[in-house]
Structures are given as structure tokens and as C-alpha cells.
Amino acid sequence: MAEVTLVEAARLAALQEMRRDPRVWVLGEDVARGGLFGQYRGFLEEFGPQRVVSTPISESTIMGAGLGAALVGTRPIIEMRIFDFVMCAMDELVNQIAKIRYMFGGQAKPAVVVRMPHGIWRNSAAQHSQTLESWFTHIPGVVVAVPATPADTAGLLVSAIRSDDPVLFFDPKNLFPLKGEVAEAIAPIPFGTARRMREGTDLTIVTWSAAVPMVEEAAATLAARGVSADALDLRTLWPWDEDAVAASVERTRRLLVVHEAVTTGGFGAEVLARVVERLGPGAVQAAARLGQPRVPVPFAPPLEDALKPDAAKVVAAAEALLRR
């Protein structure tokens, strides 16, 4: 066990898998220089330019070439640098990667990992701060991973690289400096299993990715005020751990979903809807979501702060929920 940052944990996981399987390689802008965040530091030196390919600024082709390379049996890690640029490669991702196995009746399994550092980070404004993970839960054919800790990032990345499914891996860029323990030999973490952040009885808080530390802090504050929250980090949104959430809400009868993404159309709606469909409204005393308002991410700190969720807003939302 070593204490490493989240981005280093991701680096170690990819390193382990590239050492294990020569079919795994990485392509993307500046990856031969270690990647924008150092997540591939030293890879060029160890694996050479055929397996660590710095590419032109050609997102469509970075994504589409990754697919083509998967169709002949390699297992590419497609590095998209910053999530927002995936908008330049949506045909390749949504029309091709997600559908090719189905359209071709199972003749091919596009075993790619698409890495997309996402989220609000250092006042980068509207075109570099988006969190649209919910979109991809709506797209059949893909797995959606949204880790929030070094250990989960490492374990889920190992699973992603070993999976025959296309895995959309949302690196939480704002949490890259976060430190935590990572095992020498990183074991895969199965998709669809939530991590219980804290055991509680008064309300269930469901969250993922960059919102996880906010919920941790809020849960601690609530605990100090005598409120015990049952907090779950989903870790993957498709598949997602519906059983764990349903079981928790059955006990607490109160559900709060917290995510950094815009509330409207966010995955919080799916979580809330499924719980109500599954348990019936009668089993739930109160349910709510906390996310960003339906507004683009602004540049100026006071504006960004006004919109983005934080621990205080989580506490307020939880206390409002408890009054219902």
C-alpha cells in the first residue's frame, strides 16, 4: 500500500495493465509527453512510440482510430485530454463505438477505454468544465465510470482496460491531487458496485465523481449536528448499484442525490425515478436532487462559486429534506 495522488493512481493502473497486456496502448494529444496531467508520465520511455502515440489535434480521428484499432484486436486507451473536446468526436463515440457491436450482430466487441477528465477545474469557464456523464447512461452499448478516490480510480481503470465493452472513464480532474492508498498489485473493481462512504439511518445521500468530497464533508457536518447520513458513492453510472441505493432508501425513507452536473436531465433524475418506481412513492418520505442550476459554468470565482454545489449546499439540502 502506498499513498499516492488520484492522478498517480490512474497512472499506476494504466502502467500495470500495459505491462500485463501488449495489446493495450494509448493514443491522444501530448501523451508521449506524459499527458496533460502527467497521467502517462514515463510511458513513452517504457513502451515506445508505437504504444504511446501523441496525435494531432484530431479528436474525431483519435476516437475513430481507437475504434478501428480495437476492431482488429488491440485494446486502446483513448485519451481525450479534457471531456469537453469529446464534443468533436461524438459521431465516432455515439454512432460508431457504442453501436458497432449491436449493428454488426456481435461480430466485434470494441474494447476501448475512453478517458475524459471532466468537471469544474480552476475557473476554466464554460467550454472546459462540463460534466455530462448522464448523457452516456442514455446511450446503449457503453459502460460509464465516475470514480472519486485514488483506489477506485485505479481499480476501475483496471476493470475498464480488461473489459471488452467500451468504457467511458470520467477522470475527476478537480480531484487529481487527492491522496489515498493504492495497492501494489491493483485489483479490478467490478462495475456496478457502490462504495458506502458512511453508514447512517436518517437519510440516504447518493453521489459520485467530484461531488464525493463535498458529500463526505457535509455528512461529517451533519453527523456533528446529530444527523446520520447513509452516503453512497456509485462509482459507475452504468451499470449502477440500484440494489444498494434501494436498500438504503428503504431504511432511511429519504433520498438526496448530489452531483456536480446540472440538475435538469442529470443522472440524479434517473436515480430518483428508479427508486420511486421500484419501491413505490409510499416507501419514500422525501426525495430531492442537488446539482448545478441550468446555467453554463462561468469564469469569475464568485459566479462559479454561486452555482456549483459544495458541502454547505449539501448540508442545507439534507436539512431541508429532513424537515419534509
Binding site: S60, V72, G105, K109
Partner: protein
């Protein structure tokens, strides 16, 4: 480059392939009109020379990517006929289990990595396939078919730059039939054309009369030899003519009266037939080739029509391993 006999055999092979493509598509058109084939159907009647001439130079382990008009490419690459016809009919025995149809014809067992419903969609896939093959130590090459309409989409620039940059063994084949859907190529394409665009992206290009299957074969042979020699990507610009409409239901009525008639005289099967006759091949022999193709295709149509529909229960299969949903039909 080949001795007379070999050459004769090659020409006959080209002829046979073109006849099979023509017969397949005319049979499919009839079946579509008869309501036997659902969905959109794009045929390449008149363009067979390109698929036949190029694919004659490919090995079984070479790969191809195609576009929405991919029947000819698939057949020329050796795709299984029954699986193709059944796919068009949406039957369980189709290569894609009835999930793809004409626009998503694929037969990975012969290196046909798929038609594509998105114009230029096959270009990045082709360059990536070549990159992956290299990484695996394969000597196979990749051939990427697309139309003149695709050269105005971004992936054309990105894919060619990419292939040239990494010196990937990709043969780009621009099947230039002068039209994109209902719009003439010249009305939407600026500059000197696809060959110049390729050269400007570092991809040497050759232009050829796509209706002369033998000429396509020779040009492709040269380019493929260069590719296999490690020279990097090449582009073949093949001019041709689409005798039918954009889809099976499009009369392409906007074309001038005489235009199509004039084009008929230049269509690749007639032309190769004339050459073979001139070279002393008996008309009977050629009629036989054509007749066999037609017989083969009507049989395939009959078989497909008789073939079972997919069990609705398989609709939920082939989505993904983790998080697959199940349902009842």
C-alpha cells in the same frame, strides 16, 4: 505486368465479380420493390468496376471499411452471400443477425469491417485498423472506400493526415460518381479535387477511370504493392457513374434526360465484355458467367425470403457485457 493467360484470367475474374455485384443489387432492388426488403437500400449499379478492381488486389487478411453503398465492396472482398442477402431481408441468418441491414453490412470473417451509415464514418476506423494491425505485427493492409461526398467532411482531412503521419498502410479509394445524394459534386466541392487534397495532406494520389475495371485493377495493384512495401498511404481516385438513384426509391429524376443513357454506354460490365470479346472470349462464355450470377442471386433471394426471422428475444443481445438489460418479447 502479368502474362497474357494470367491477364485473361484476371479480366474474367473482374467480369465475374462485377456480374455478381450487379446481379446481387438488381435482385435486391426487385426484392425491395416487392416489399421483401425493409429500410433504405443504396445500390452501386454502374460502379462495380471500382470494388472489383480494387479488391482483386487484397489478401483475405486485409481489411476494408465501406460506406452506405457497400454491397459491392463486401461481395468483392468475399463476404458470404447468404449472410448478406439475409441481412438485407432482416433475417436471423444475416451476418448481423438482422440488426444492421443493408447500411450496416459487415463480414468480419473476411476482413469486411462494415458499411457505415455516416458519410466518412469509415475513414477514422480504417486508419485505426491499420495502426492496430501494425502494433500486432500483421502485414495486412486496409482499404477504405468512400464517395466524393465524404471529401467535404472533416474526417477526410484528419484521417489522411493521420495515415501519412504514421505511414500507415491504408489505401483510400474515393469512388467519385459525381453526386452526393441529390447534389452534384462540383456544386459542393471547391478546388482541384480529391487527388490534390490528398497530395496536400501527404498522401500520394492516382486518378483512374473507375468504369474501366482493368485500369482500376492495374492502378490498385501498383498502389497496393507500394503499401505493402511500407511506402505509407495512397489514394486512388476512381471516377464512375451511378446509374440508379441515391436510394432504391429515388428516381434521380433531376438528371438530364440523355445523361443516364449516355452513361449506360460507358458502364463497366459492358466495357469489359467488349474488351473480352475483342480478345476472343466467346460471348457464350460471358453470358454463362452473367447467367450464373443471376441464378445464384435469385436463389439467394428465394432462400432469404424463406429464411426465419430473428427471434424477438435476441433484440436484447449484443449490446454489452456489463450492464446488459434483459427483456421479454
Amino acid at each position: 505486368m502479368t502474362s497474357g493467360g494470367d491477364n485473361r484470367a484476371r479480366l474474367l475474374a473482374l467480369y465475374a465479380t462485377m456480374c455478381r455485384i450487379r446481379a446481387f443489387e438488381e435482385t435486391a432492388l426487385a426484392a425491395h420493390r416487392a416489399g421483401e426488403i425493409p429500410g433504405p437500400l443504396h445500390v452501386s449499379v454502374g460502379q462495380e468496376g471500382v470494388a472489383a478492381g480494387v479488391c482483386l488486389n487484397l489478401r483475405p487478411d486485409d481489411r476494408i471499411t465501406s460506406n452506405h453503398r457497400g454491397h459491392g465492396h463486401a461481395l468483392a472482398k468475399g463476404a458470404g452471400l447468404a449472410g448478406m442477402m439475409e441481412e438485407l431481408f432482416g433475417r436471423a441468418g444475416g451476418h448481423c443477425r438482422g440488426k444492421g441491414g443493408s447500411m450496416h453490412i459487415a463480414d468480419f470473417s473476411v476482413g469486411m469491417l462494415g458499411a457505415n451509415g455516416v458519410v466518412a464514418g469509415g475513414i477514422p476506423i480504417a486508419v485505426g485498423a491499420a495502426q492496430g494491425l501494425r502494433l500486432l505485427g500483421s502485414t495486412a493492409i486496409v482499404c477504405c472506400f468512400f464517395g466524393d461526398g465524404a471529401i467535404n467532411r472533416g474526417p477526410f482531412l484528419e484521417g489522411l493526415n493521420w495515415a501519412a503521419l504514421y505511414r500507415l498502410p491504408v489505401l483510400f479509394v474515393c469512388e467519385d460518381n459525381g453526386v452526393a445524394a441529390f447534389t452534384r459534386a462540383e456544386s459542393v466541392t471547391a478546388g482541384p479535387g480529391v487527388a490534390a487534397r490528398a497530395e496536400a495532406l501527404g498522401v500520394p494520389a492516382v486518378s483512374v477511370d473507375g468504369n474501366d475495371a482493368a485500369a482500376v485493377d492495374e492502378a490498385a495493384a501498383r498502389l497496393v504493392a507500394e503499401l505493402r512495401g511500407g511506402a505509407g498511404p495512397r489514394l486512388l481516385h476512381a471516377t464512375t457513374y451511378r446509374l440508379t438513384g441515391h436510394t432504391s426509391t429515388d428516381p434521380a429524376a433531376w438528371r438530364e434526360a440523355g445523361e443516364v443513357e449516355a452513361a449506360r454506354a460507358q458502364e463497366p460490365i459492358l466495357r469489359l465484355r467488349a474488351r473480352l470479346l475483342a480478345e476472343g472470349v466467346a460471348a457464350k462464355a460471358l453470358d454463362a458467367v452473367e447467367g450464373d450470377a443471376r441464378a445464384e442471386m435469385s436463389q439467394a433471394r428465394a432462400d432469404a425470403l424463406a429464411a426465419p426471422w430473428p427471434d424477438p428475444a435476441i433484440a436484447w443481445e449484443d449490446v454489452q457485457d456489463s450492464g446488459a438489460v434483459t427483456g421479454v418479447a
